[in-house]
């Protein structure tokens, strides 16, 4: 925090996100401003339907912002071509993959498409990147399987490996732990944390695992009903950001434990 030479990799400026139809636009969230430093784990938190996925889709250029600007390494994403963006930002989405017979290795290798020639031939560098991604996510024993044979937890690791193979500075994951049990959820969080620390990638994910998120994340983008807070855990606690996140009679934030506690009644 003290160092003045921060490398801001992603920046949102007066961003309004939502869905634009022909004449009307449905605003999901507005006044979004944040700066994200390189090499951090960022979680996007907030209740269902408040705009987490919309934000992730907007910063990954899947959909357009209603107004405002997004910058990746000081460059407005409006000016970044899709081709260029594919070498800077990779995705792990919640949507189900179409049923196919791709092997885990082939699926991860698809992450190299931004770098391969028109016939999609893997160079030795591509193979090396794929192998590294497989090692980092510890899925060596899965690589010859078809992806439909995997459990949800394994598949999530494979999709993360695919994003790693794409060799981008930023990885965005939309609810990567949505279908996972607690044990696998924690494994994914620790994997992402480890990746941030060892590879200096910037990882942004949305999640409903609020207790895990606030413990693992370097920074949190918190959607509440009125404001969007961005900052680390102490900052959010100081600003009472968690106080009104959920109905008080059901879930409370305990400042001492730095955890959300369920009210048993």
């Amino acid at each position: 925090m003290s160092s003045s030479k921060k490398h801001i990799i992603l920046k949102a400026e007066n961003l309004t996100i939502g869905y634009q139809q022909k004449k009307t636009s449905k605003v999901v969230a507005e006044n979004i401003n944040f700066e994200i430093e390189k090499g951090q784990l960022i979680t996007v938190l907030g209740k269902n339907g408040i705009g987490k996925s919309t934000l992730l889709r907007t910063i990954s250029k899947v959909q357009k912002p209603i107004s405002g600007n997004i910058f990746i390494n000081q460059k407005n994403i409006e000016q970044i071509t899709e081709k260029e963006l594919s070498t800077q930002l990779s995705l792990v989405l919640t949507e189900r993959l179409p049923e196919s017979q791709l092997t885990v290795y082939e699926l991860i290798a698809l992450g190299r498409q931004p770098y391969t020639n028109w016939l999609d031939k893997l160079s030795s560098k591509d193979v090396e990147k794929i192998e590294t991604a497989i090692k980092q996510t510890e899925i060596e024993d899965l690589k010859d399987n078809r992806f439909y044979e995997l459990s949800d937890g394994q598949l999530q690791r494979v999709l993360i490996a695919r994003a790693l193979a794409q060799d981008t500075e930023i990885i965005i994951l939309d609810e990567p732990t949505a279908h996972l049990d607690l044990h696998h959820t924690i494994k994914i969080f620790s994997l992402l944390k480890k990746l941030v620390e060892t590879t200096s990638k910037t990882i942004i994910l949305s999640s409903h695992e609020i207790n895990l998120s606030i413990n693992f994340a370097n920074e949190i983008i918190l959607f509440t009903d009125n404001t969007i807070f961005t900052g680390n855990l102490p900052y959010l606690i100081d600003n009472n950001a968690f106080d009104n996140l959920f109905p008080k009679e059901i879930v409370n934030f305990n400042r001492n434990l730095q955890q959300f506690i369920i009210n048993k009644k």
């Binding site: 949507e95 993959l97 196919s100 290795y105 698809l110 498409q113 931004p114 999609d120």
Partner: protein, 342 residues
């Protein structure tokens, strides 16, 4: 890495293809000894002059047509299934073949409605394929415009079927106002036939086929990325719109030219990609494209050999054979495997 095991598959299939090619040429209403068939193909040294004509001008073009039609339709089916990420897609299901039929119907039947203009220009080597390609392109574009609005793949298939019945209705109306001999001409065309092509027509066919097949190589990369869905494909830097349009263009031209020359042939486009996926246990288009093309050619050569009813004077409509033998095989394969892939 895994390519080694596939090489064996391909060699076996190619040998099978060559054998079937010769078997196909050997059978017909006139029985010709195999030695003479071989001689007529390679050194023109044949016992009877008429045999030479039969083989070079009838059987050889027919066998080549079978290969082109079978591989072409199957590749179209593969492209459609990948593009829509739907194992039920194919040139027939999406109404593209019906579009080609509509083009041909307007050319053959439309003269009574649109007057002599069409009649005078009709049925040269190029007019049938152009009409059929335009027809299939028209229907395919309509399906795509509709598809962009609904997103849901099931709806897209239903829309395709609707376009199919819509074009069929137009064809009925055209037929109602047409002369008997025009209807007969159209009806015979719609039975499907691989055997009526002259070498001149065949060369037109081969040129269009070759261009379309070479063009599929340029979309190999987008096709593989489509296996992850459009959002992932886009995030990999693929230009979705461009790739989709090229895919559709290739499909409509291929389906158009094939339907023009051989009539609407059912089943092959839908089924062969599934057979290839089962045999090769892969979804990678680098493997599937050549596999689908080879198997498609093999399947149609077999169907055509059956259609000739060896030693008989009759030839059954190829369209009937492909469905009659093909549909049960596909049902059997799918019931046994219980899982269908894209």
């Amino acid at each position: 890495m895994e390519n080694k095991s596939y090489t064996k598959h391909f060699i076996l299939l190619l040998i099978l293809l060559i054998i079937l090619f010769f078997i196909n040429i050997s059978f017909g209403s006139v029985s010709i000894p195999f030695k003479d068939i071989f001689n007529s193909l390679f050194n023109g040294n044949v016992t009877k002059e008429s045999w030479q004509t039969i083989i070079v001008n009838f059987r050889l073009p027919k066998a080549i047509t079978a290969i082109l039609v079978g591989s072409g339709l199957s590749v179209c089916g593969l492209l459609m299934q990948t593009l829509f990420r739907n194992p039920l897609a194919g040139p027939f299901v999406l109404g593209i073949s019906s579009g080609a039929s509509l083009g041909v119907a307007i050319l053959l039947l439309g003269s009574s409605i649109f007057g002599g203009f069409l009649l005078t220009t009709s049925v040269s080597n190029w007019s049938l394929p152009i009409a059929a390609s335009l027809g299939s392109f028209l229907v395919l574009s309509a399906v795509i415009i509709a598809a962009n609005r609904v997103k849901n793949t099931m709806s897209i298939l239903i829309i395709g079927l609707m376009f199919g019945s819509f074009t069929a209705a137009i064809i009925s109306v055209l037929a109602y106002f047409s002369e008997a001999d025009q209807i007969q001409q159209y009806l015979f065309w719609s039975f499907g036939s691989l055997g009526n092509l002259s070498w001149a027509e065949l060369s037109v066919f081969i040129i269009i086929y070759a261009i379309a097949m070479l063009a599929t190589l340029t979309i190999l990369k987008p096709l593989n990325s489509f296996l992850l869905g459009e959002n992932y494909a886009k995030s990999l830097g693929i230009n979705i719109k461009k790739s989709r349009n090229i895919t559709l263009l290739i499909t409509s031209v291929l389906t158009g030219v094939i339907t023009a020359f051989s009539g609407p042939i059912a089943f092959v486009g839908l089924a062969v990609p599934h057979i290839a996926r089962m045999l090769f246990f892969s979804s990678n288009h680098k493997i599937l494209l050549p596999a689908v093309a080879t198997i498609g050619a093999i399947v149609l050569l077999i169907c055509d050999t059956i259609a000739q009813l060896p030693t008989s004077e009759f030839t059954l409509p190829i369209n009937a054979i492909t469905s009659l033998f093909g549909a049960p095989i596909v049902i059997w394969l799918l019931v046994r495997k219980k899982r269908i892939f894209v």
